[in-house]
């Protein structure tokens, strides 16, 4: 059983909490307060061809104090883990709240949450921080070496590993200690067309970022994938460039997760819907007045939010304001039925409780409403396979792996590419295509969803770097989905798009 890192528990957590609660209690007009001590251990390894380019480790460590004074948020953070550091931060948080109070038109109120006292640890088999760097570097160099031996011109392997520890205490009586581990292995190989076309093609492994340990990296099958990838690259360089137009698309989970992330998960954040991100990340077409009526997509679409999925990147015991992890429906039968919430958003929406989506990426940042694991559920009636989905396509494209992505600030117009594209002809794969990008409008695209893969084809993918908020914050998040068939989606030729 995994235990919380003793190095984190040796920090003066109780003293800092006592100092914070004492200082908050002495502030006039404070109705709520909390302190969050947050330490990350982050190790990055970057290998290129036969060389280790960098091996570095960092340990951001500090605390943030959050309080509500006369209805106004105040937040202050410091890396000074002393009682005097805490006192200074509480004073600064109160000062920020007072200074900004005259600009406040709507008092901060929080939906109720029972107090929790708990310790929560995500299980991993092999904590990457307990594996020798030499073993990891040698493994990665072996993989890039195999790419080169197979004929790649470039080969790179990055692996970012994070262990996150949080200690949270609130004036409402919650006291929570948590630990989770995640890593993101990224292996990429590249070829240049030696026939003089100047074409450069790169391809990335479909390995996923996961809340697992180093065992995931060694078990993924990188050595064989490295060799296969060079063959795929050679085929792709010689493949025909796609003719633009509408196509039936079978989208692999390794690509579809990102489309879900951008067009569904961001589109169903209540803070966006209420304008809190209008200056930066944007808003959403899925406005609160349409809950229960907005047709987001086809009736086959069932999307859930959760902070419970095993090995999910957004999985926790409790969120960053002490709300216990939950699972709920966001889209059911193609209709918008729910949002992602923190305590403030839940209260504004007159809901009895937050669903636990508060998250801060650092001790120095205020927790925001951030994305849980948002997943598309598989076909509930049959265990449909990829081959079954291909069988329903006369002329189409099968898309594997994510690459380029972009969506507008209201989550309507999007464009995605991928790692590999296969022509589907009369229900069979018929070789690779090049230069494919699909472009659509969120409700149109999801309305074209005709068939879903079954539970056996469902996979959990995700990202380490979901951006939102000002100052900018990045969050890790997972998205599960099966492969899915979409009818007549607009496909562009990405290379021709660039020609004036």
């Amino acid at each position: 059983m995994t235990e919380i890192d003793p190095g984190f528990l040796e920090l003066p957590l109780d003293q800092l909490a006592d100092a914070a609660l004492g200082a908050i209690a002495r502030c006039q007009g404070v109705s709520y307060g909390d302190i969050r001590v947050h330490r990350d251990r982050i190790q990055g390894i970057h290998v290129r061809e036969h060389d280790l380019i960098s091996l570095s480790e960092s340990e951001p460590l500090g605390f943030g104090v959050r309080l509500v004074l006369d209805g106004s948020w105040g937040f202050a953070a410091s890396s000074d883990l002393t009682e005097s550091g805490v006192a200074r931060a509480v004073g600064a948080a109160a000062e920020m709240a007072r200074l900004l109070r005259p600009l406040l038109e709507e008092r901060v109120e929080l939906a109720p949450e029972p107090s929790h006292q708990a310790s929560w640890v995500a299980e991993v088999e092999l904590n990457p921080f307990q594996v020798d760097a030499e073993r990891k570097v040698n493994f990665m160099l072996d993989v890039t070496g195999r790419c080169l031996e197979a004929g790649a011109k470039f080969a790179e392997f990055y692996c970012l590993q994070v262990q996150e520890n949080r200690f949270f205490v609130s004036t409402e009586g919650s006291r929570l200690t948590q630990q989770r581990v995640r890593l993101h292995p990224v292996m990429e190989a590249g070829l240049v067309d030696e026939k003089g076309s100047g074409l450069v093609e790169t391809m990335r492994s479909t390995a996923r970022p996961v809340a697992r340990g180093w065992e995931y990296v060694e078990a993924h099958g990188f050595p064989s994938e490295a060799e296969e990838m060079v063959g795929w690259l050679q085929e792709k360089l010689a493949a025909p460039s796609v003719d633009p137009g509408p196509y039936d698309l079978v989208i692999d989970p390794s690509n579809l997760w990102l489309t879900i992330h951008e067009s569904v998960a961001h589109g169903t954040e209540l803070d966006r819907a209420l304008g809190y991100e209008a200056n930066y990340a944007g808003t959403t077409f899925a406005t609160p007045d349409q809950v229960g009526s907005l047709r987001y997509g086809s009736p086959r679409m069932h999307v859930t939010g959760d902070r419970l999925e095993p090995h999910g990147l957004a999985t926790v015991g409790f969120d960053d304001e002490g709300v216990a992890a939950q699972r709920w429906d966001i889209i059911k039968d193609g209709i918008l039925v729910g949002y992602q919430l923190n305590r403030q958003m839940a209260q504004k929406f007159r809901l009895p409780r937050s669903n636990g989506c508060a998250f801060s990426d650092s001790w120095s940042h205020l927790p925001l409403q951030r994305m849980p694991n948002v997943s598309l559920q598989p076909d509930p009636d049959r265990d449909t396979t990829l081959v079954d989905l291909f069988a329903g396509v006369e002329e189409g494209i099968y898309i594997v792996g994510d690459k380029s992505w972009s969506i507008d600030q209201q989550r309507y117009n999007f464009q995605f590419t991928g790692q590999r594209f296969y022509r589907i002809h009369k229900g069979q794969l018929a070789g690779q295509l090049r230069d494919v990008a699909y472009q659509s409008r969120t409700p149109d695209f999801w309305g074209r969803l005709e068939a879903l893969g079954g539970i056996s084809a469902w996979q959990l993918h995700g990202a380490f770097n979901c951006g939102k908020g000002e100052p900018g914050q990045v969050a890790p998040v997972s998205h599960g989905c099966p492969p899915a068939l979409f009818r007549q989606v607009n496909v562009l030729n990405a290379r021709k798009e660039g020609k004036p």
């Binding site: 060389d51 960098s54 570095s56 000062e95 570097v137 001790w363 380029s404 992505w405 117009n413 464009q415």
Partner: protein, 452 residues
């Protein structure tokens, strides 16, 4: 702990390079005419590089006790011992080879404190009141940061770098959220920012949106405002490194060698960096805790002199660390943390007045690579696309998705306006960039976006 104490402790632990940093920042956000969140932060941090016979180990941490410096030094040493020899290994620079300390890095280090909000809060409050009174909705973000870094090396180099930065962005929308305009501003201190002036300009622009027009996808003459220009040139700058060109991976790869010396852009294009530019001063020496195509840990302390990247439309330089330069026959050229695109005396209003028909594009959003080798990007217009006809703005236009390359955009630039400090909306407000409005022919809008 002070940066000086961190550096001396780290060097005392046998580290080759130590960077001590003291930093602070404050911010607040606005939405729907009210303040939403805020924050103040302070930190002390240390980064160390251990060298063991050409092998490198790097560790960094936030620091609140001196004993942590020894701990991170131990970690860096252990990682160096577990690493193969670094491909960029070079002798560390000595005092005479490194950058010279700047005379103006004296006196108290720049700090951001809650009381610094004072000069701007009354003005922001006035903006929110005006917005409410006009039946509009105002959104925004203000931030200020101050930091001081001290670099020390085992070869005796001691260099201090300071940085002070502030920014404000405001979005103004109609009450039904059906029309929207944006402006961003960058300075060194909160007091440099002018919320009321921004609000006046935004109000004028929101007036332009009273007539809205729908235009289809296609090729358009556009005037990119400074924010949009800056996002294009900063993305171009990210690929401006010798390694990617040598390897044939970027748009800077030529048929044989790099494209340095080639007229890649219109003759009016000049891009340069100067760490001593008063409006966008940044440290003038390399601080590096992780080698890449941009910098090497062995180059810490190397001077970052002013550099002209592009002149007369001709690519002049590519970023190149010392070892890559030595091995591949390039000049050493460190990156600099700011970028300026040269302009003319033409104001934006003058450019509008001389326009027969074009789209005026305020800012760009969600820009991503589509074809890295060609540097083809996709992205969207946001919070301000206006149709100009016969010298006047005649209304606002729907947003578009574009598919364009910064190289193509700068090739098809036919007019350049006055360069100013610009808020790169996509890249981030923490980078200092000066950019002009530019007139570009045949800008490709690939599809229409419904977003407002």
């Amino acid at each position: 702990m002070t940066p000086e104490e961190i550096v001396e402790l780290g060097l005392g632990e046998g580290m080759a390079v130590v960077i001590g940093e003291k930093a602070s920042g404050l911010n607040f956000r606005l939405a729907n005419n009210t303040v939403t969140t805020n924050g103040w932060e302070e930190s002390n941090s240390a980064g160390v590089v251990a060298l063991e016979e050409g092998r490198v180990g790097v560790q960094a941490a936030d620091i609140s006790a001196s004993s942590q410096v020894a701990e991170i030094a131990r970690g860096a040493r252990e990682r160096a011992r577990q690493s193969p020899e670094a491909p960029d290994a070079m002798p560390l620079l000595g005092v005479t080879e490194a950058a010279s300390p700047l005379a103006n890095e004296s006196g108290p280090s720049p700090e951001a404190r809650p009381e610094d909000l004072g000069p701007i809060l009354d003005s922001v409050r006035g903006v929110l009141e005006q917005s409410r009174a006009a039946g509009l909705r105002c959104f925004g973000f203000a931030q200020a940061t101050g930091s001081s870094e001290l670099l020390g090396t085992s070869t005796g180099v001691r260099l201090e770098g300071r940085r002070q930065h502030a920014s404000l962005a405001l979005t103004l929308k109609t009450a039904d959220l059906g029309r929207s305009v944006w402006e961003g501003a960058v300075g060194r201190r909160m007091a440099d920012l002018d919320p009321e002036g921004m609000y006046r300009r935004l109000s004028r622009r929101l007036g332009w949106t009273e007539r809205s027009l729908e235009l289809p996808a296609g090729h358009y003459e556009v005037i990119l405002e400074p924010s949009a220009t800056s996002d294009m040139v900063v993305r171009l700058m990210w690929d401006m490194h010798a390694r990617g060109a040598d390897e044939g991976r970027t748009v800077f790869a030529g048929k044989s060698g790099t494209r340095v010396g080639e007229a890649m852009y219109a003759p009016s294009i000049r891009l340069e960096s100067d760490p001593l530019d008063e409006e966008m001063a940044v440290p003038n020496f390399v601080r590096c805790l992780g080698s890449s195509e941009y910098a090497s840990v062995f180059d810490n302390g190397l001077a970052e002199p002013p550099v002209v990247w592009v002149d007369g439309g001709v690519q002049q330089e590519l970023i190149c660390p010392r070892r890559w330069a030595q091995d591949h026959g390039h000049p050493v050229r460190p990156d600099v943390d700011n970028l300026a695109m040269a302009g003319t005396e033409l104001s934006l209003d003058q450019m509008i007045a001389s326009t027969k028909r074009a789209l005026l594009v305020t800012s760009l959003w969600y820009i991503r690579d589509v074809d890295p080798a060609a540097l083809l990007l996709t992205g969207l217009t946001r919070d301000g696309v206006f149709l100009i006809e016969n010298g006047e703005v005649v209304g606002s236009v729907n947003n578009f998705r574009f598919n364009e390359s910064p190289v193509g955009v700068l090739q098809r630039t036919v007019e350049v306006g006055r360069s100013e400090l610009a808020f790169s909306r996509e890249v981030g407000d923490e980078l200092f960039v000066k950019a002009p409005p530019i007139r570009v022919e045949n800008f490709f809008m690939s599809s229409v976006s419904d977003a407002i």
